[in-house]
Amino acid sequence: MRESIGVPSMVLAAGYLGFGALANGSQFPLWAALLSTVTIFALPGQLAMLEMSIAGAVPVVIVITVSLTAARFLPMTVALLPMLRVPGRASWRLYVAVHLLAMTGWAASMRRFPELPLEQRLPWFVGFALTNWVACLVFTAVGYALAESLPALVRQGLVFIGPLYFVLILTGETRTRYGVMALACGAVAGPLIHLATPQWSVLLGGLIGGTLAWGLVRRRQRA
């Protein structure tokens, strides 16, 4: 648990602070923002849900879009599981535990698991992820409350942290060729499609921008 109060969690806290402030700035109710941290617990999906429901998108489209932002969890879980499963032990605990799987906890586990005995890994993971989960809930509320009580000028600055967090983390932490190309294509496609159809822009921007980037990189690698 002590390890979870490190730099990665502070980064997560900043993200959730921004999300809380953004939710307040969009008149999204606090309880729904908190519920999304409990049930989704993945910032990109929560941001997509927030913005799309404000834009009045069809619920089914929102759910599909959020799901697409979360597809990364499948390969992450697949990679983590062989290090976590104790032979002969019931697996329902694991099904509960993976709900708490997010980028921060995953990266820390991949680093830490090889040093830990097999039986200690699940408790370690749950302790780490649970601490993060609770901290994210607290910071969602703190961001929301701060944005509500402060003067307009400071409030605008706080809400600005929401998008800024992603600008910095995406430009700074994306290393692969596919990732960089996808960022570029998405950054152009998203706003352009928004001008034509605000309710569909998040989903279409991702599908079109992402597929374009994937095709471009693939073609260049083959050439």
Partner: protein
């Protein structure tokens, strides 16, 4: 209210779906396959498009701030972030201070 609650929970389930599927399929899928490369591209493009859209065409509180101020504050945050070796806190703090300062200057405070 109930509708919103259902929507949030449905989004949660749609997210859990991938975590749960990962459990089920562990050891049976090749995570380096082309499908996951593509899905990764879509996720990156989606969140990048959404972020840039919020910066350029915001709704809610940010809609009251002028575009040049937002872009300048974002640029300052990026520069500071990279100068401080990708320190996210310093970058975010710089962007926050920059936007508040620029807005204060414009409104003549």
């Amino acid at each position: 209210m109930l509708e919103l609650a259902l929507l949030v929970v449905a989004c949660g389930l749609a997210t859990y779906l991938w975590r749960g599927l990962g459990m089920l399929l562990s050891g049976r899928v090749n995570i380096e396959s082309e499908f996951f490369v593509w899905a990764g591209c879509v996720a990156y493009a989606l969140i990048a498009g959404l972020t840039v859209r919020i910066l350029l065409l915001p709704t809610g509180t940010l809609a009251a701030t002028p575009l040049p101020e937002r872009l300048l504050a974002c640029a300052i945050a990026l520069v500071v972030y990279f100068v401080f070796r990708r320190n996210l806190f310093v970058g975010i703090a710089a962007g926050f201070v920059a936007l508040v300062t620029l807005l204060a200057i414009r409104s003549g405070v």
